[in-house]
């Protein structure tokens, strides 16, 4: 009767699949809770009215037409990198080399723009840029995949290391191609001739990336969910032994998938260099190769959901930099808010998979 140990007062139960509207409800509740906590933190730390802060975040992303376009362009780029990583992730191949794959893609584009500028027609330059950037990204994906397939090396390490190689390559070529000499940067390439600049669509310089991102989202979804190759990727990811057992050539699938993954990253490099920045620097990918890892995970590797997760990250990001300028706060405060919101969004997944049951006080009336 008087045992010293207390019964645990709650316990966890793994849920069956939750209906989608309930899962969505939990996620919305998490975002609301995050906003409340952010408001409290803002008031306590800075004394600023949190409503003003939220308005400012929104204006940062959608304040003017230009800001709105840039927001969507940024979403498109982050979304594309996330999509690129997704086939590899579905195969349980942890490609964290998106950063490097984007960089080499961008470098290849820049090389075409600089070296071929006056030698061949512009259309041909652009065609070569497409081929080279896709190829460069694919090769950057292929190398870790090859070693993984042949000798089962750890892909997390090798893709990560490939990032550093890419950064150093870009740094090297920045010096080779620097304009003017000694400036340490390449500057806008072909500023006068615009050779190798990707065409604008309907007079908007932002639309191209957005349209490409939309197209790749749909194509990749179809590829992963309905194609035979997509099915092979899923089987290899879940169990390599099962894959071998049914005669799937695992090595081939790993290499093929990483060619796709790296290739799409290379395409992002092309868009960044040929379409948006018209120059290449070591920070052109801006850490999005890593942010994309989170975006892809948060979307549970579903390309359609990824549209929303990448939007959320970009929205927070742009809003955060807005409040740091509007209120004279430094960037760190914005990061704190972003951190709080992400914590709630990722944390709520726990409540989607598990249920907490509280124990009723055990009836002790039965013993004699």
């Amino acid at each position: 009767m008087n045992s010293k140990k207390q019964e645990p007062s709650f316990y966890l139960v793994k849920r069956d699949a939750l209906p989608w509207h309930k899962a969505l409800g939990i996620r919305i509740a998490a975002i609301v809770a995050a906003m409340v906590v952010c408001a409290v933190v803002t008031t306590v730390l800075t004394g600023i009215n949190p409503i003003q802060v939220y308005v400012s975040i929104f204006l940062g992303a959608f304040g003017t037409a230009r800001k709105t376009w840039i927001t969507f362009q940024n979403v498109a780029i982050l979304l594309l990198i996330s999509l690129a990583l997704t086939p590899a992730f579905r195969m349980h191949f942890w490609n964290i080399g998106g950063e490097g794959q984007v960089l080499v893609g961008g470098l290849a584009s820049a090389a075409c723009m600089i070296c071929l500028a006056d030698k061949i027609p512009n259309a041909l330059v652009i065609l070569l840029m497409i081929v080279c950037s896709l190829g460069a990204g694919a090769i950057w994906g292929l190398i870790p995949a090859f070693f993984k397939a042949k000798w089962n090396t750890n892909e997390t390490l090798s893709t990560l290391m490939m990032n550093y190689i890419a950064t150093q390559l870009v740094a090297f070529f920045t010096i080779v191609w620097e304009v003017p000499k000694g400036s340490g940067k390449i500057g806008i390439i072909n500023q006068n001739s615009s050779i190798g600049w990707l065409p604008q669509i309907a007079g908007s310089k932002y639309l191209l990336s957005i349209l490409i991102a939309a197209a790749i989202t749909v194509l990749l979804y179809i590829y992963l969910v309905y194609s035979k190759q997509g099915y092979e990727i899923a089987v290899v990811g879940e169990s390599e032994r099962t894959a071998r057992y049914v005669g799937i050539k695992v090595e081939k699938v790993i290499i093929r998938t990483m060619l796709i993954s790296g290739g799409i990253c290379g395409l992002v490099g092309l868009l960044l260099v040929g379409g948006i920045n018209h120059t290449v620097t070591t920070t052109i990918a801006n850490g999005q190769g890593f942010t994309a890892v989170m975006v892809s995970w948060m979307a549970k590797f579903n390309p359609i959901t990824m549209v929303f997760t990448s939007f959320l990250i970009i929205f927070l990001n742009r809003g955060a930099s807005e409040i740091s300028t509007t209120f004279g706060l430094n960037q760190s405060f914005a990061d704190i808010l972003t951190g709080i919101i992400l914590f709630f969004i990722i944390g709520c997944e726990f409540f989607i998979s598990y249920k907490i049951n509280f124990r009723k006080k055990a009836g002790k009336g039965e013993n004699n």
């Binding site: 045992s3 140990k5 194609s227 089987v235």
Partner: protein
């Protein structure tokens, strides 16, 4: 049974996993000096119930009394302090440590291996264990590892001992040895619970049986007052027949000829040495052997999954055409038109993808067919529905991940898929391991049906009684070599048991 004292009394124990009932108001007494066999189909809640006793789960409702006192068991550590020890199906030993080190591992206080060894020897002597205390675990056979597990539990002072399917991996001789030890422990006044699916073991070992069905306690009785049929009926809830029918093979033809097959594993250890045999159509060839004797390598070599060093694997078609399978991968074998089906030992890790639903799992074998870039989901969905209906697979639906199904149903899905392709050769590895008696007989019947259709069946099994009842011929493997091939109708259990441990055994009645 006058002065029986209850070591454990469980009252109204309920445990639910989400909406799934693990146990529902189970009341069970475990007495000192008695061996209790806990019976039930897969998913009937035997292991769940015992896990609550050993502190792995915590009951949602109900009380547990140990030696008459109400107790709360929150962790395995609490259970040890109360003298409850459980030997799990999967051993929890550290490979690189010796037996003695494993036994004392995790105990508090200064480590004094010498004194500990003395104490361990006393325990071994008392109950008749044979353990080499300095032997490293990685050098041990399965039965030796199990002995270490039991001694470990006893060393911690357990009076209440729970064994979860302890004989699944033992030879008949090892099983007998284990039973002798368990009887000694019972006579010493310990309470022993054994979970098993093998009826003849229940009858020969236990004093009392308790039956669970769908999480509920159905009843208990003295073993001497009951029989296998009654126990099975209680478990299943309706009458079942426990006979395996063995028909005479009809017009057997040579179908698969293996000659001089030699296989080394990745570490370079010889797993199969000069293995030769023939599998015939319309016949079940059983393969017996202690676990790890090359059964896995043999089947995987035939299926094209295991690199080989030497030998031939020849497939012979009805018209006498011979085709070499050695060195071909599963896809290539399929493309040659050889309908080879393989039910591997590791169902969820190899035969199926646990996180995929039934339809996607049915697709595994067929998705590569056709030239379209896209997968055809319609025919696998029909196949999934057909398998669910015909084999009575218990599942919420065909879009449920197979991992959620119970062991028996997982196996039905796998076997269902493998026989759906109308195979000419069917290989099964431990097809009924972990399955309850009802599911097991479903599988035996399916295999028998394939035999009647003229399929050459290769059946790797561990239960000798079943092998002797089901198979037309039995090939016994011993350390990767063929110890002999015997006729399933005339061979006896002891001979086969001997052949499993000694090449050739005593009697050599090769066909």
């Amino acid at each position: 049974m006058g002065d029986k004292t209850a070591a454990v009394t469980m009252k109204n124990i309920t445990k639910k996993f989400g909406s799934v009932v693990g146990n529902e108001k189970v009341c069970l007494d475990i007495y000192k000096g008695e061996i209790l066999a806990l019976l039930g189909e897969n998913g009937s809640g035997k292991t769940t119930l015992m896990n609550m006793l050993s502190g792995i789960y915590f009951p949602d409702e109900g009380q547990i009394y140990i030696n008459g006192k109400e107790t709360v068991i929150r962790s395995p550590k609490d259970a040890y302090e109360l003298g409850i020890g459980m030997v799990h199906q999967h051993f929890k030993l550290v490979d690189v440590l010796s037996a003695a080190e494993n036994i004392v591992l995790g105990l508090k206080g200064r480590l004094n291996l010498k004194e500990a060894s003395k104490k361990i020897r006393n325990i071994c002597q008392k109950y008749g264990f044979e353990v080499d205390l300095d032997q490293k675990v990685y050098n041990m056979s399965v039965s030796q590892k199990q002995t270490v597990e039991i001694v470990k539990v006893l060393y911690r002072g357990a009076d209440i001992l729970i064994l979860d399917e302890p004989t699944a991996v033992l030879t008949p001789q090892e099983t007998e040895k284990l039973f002798a030890v368990l009887r000694n422990m019972r006579d010493d006044g310990k309470a022993i619970v054994i979970i098993t699916h093998k009826m003849h073991e229940v009858e020969s070992l236990s004093d009392r049986v308790a039956v669970l069905r769908r999480g509920c306690f159905i009843g208990d009785m003295m073993t001497k007052d009951t029989n296998a049929v009654e126990m099975t009926n209680m478990m299943v809830g309706h009458k079942v027949s426990l006979n395996i029918t063995r028909t005479e093979p009809v017009n057997p033809q040579k179908r698969l000829e293996v000659k001089g097959l030699t296989v080394r594993n990745e570490e370079g250890i010889l797993k199969l040495q000069d293995v030769s045999f023939t599998a015939r159509s319309g016949e079940i060839l059983g393969i017996a052997g202690i676990s790890g004797c090359g059964q896995k390598e043999l089947l995987e070599a035939i299926a094209g999954l295991q690199p080989t060093e030497a030998g031939q694997i020849t497939y012979i078609e009805d018209d006498g055409t011979r085709e070499e399978l050695l060195g071909k991968d599963p896809r290539a074998i399929q493309e040659m038109g050889v309908a080879l089906s393989f039910v591997p030992e590791d169902r969820l890790g190899m035969g199926l993808v646990g996180d995929m639903d039934l339809t996607a799992n049915m697709m595994l074998r067929s998705f590569q067919n056709g030239h379209s870039m896209f997968t055809d989901r319609r025919s696998p969905r029909h196949l999934a529905e057909k398998v669910v209906n015909e084999l009575d697979v218990v599942t919420p639906g065909i879009s449920t991940p197979v991992r959620r199904l119970s062991g028996g149903n997982v196996q039905k899905v796998l076997v269902g898929r493998e026989i759906a392709s109308a195979p000419t050769v069917l290989m099964t590895a431990y097809a009924v391991r972990g399955l309850d008696i009802n599911s097991s007989y479903t599988i035996y019947n399916l295999i028998n049906e394939q035999k009647k259709k003229g399929v050459a069946v290769i059946f790797v099994g561990e239960d000798l009684d079943v092998l002797l009842e089901l198979c037309d011929r039995i090939m016994v493997l011993c350390g990767g070599q063929v110890s002999g091939i015997v006729d399933g109708r005339t061979a006896d259990k002891n001979t086969v048991g001997m052949m499993m441990t000694h090449i050739g055994g005593n009697a050599d009645d090769e066909q």
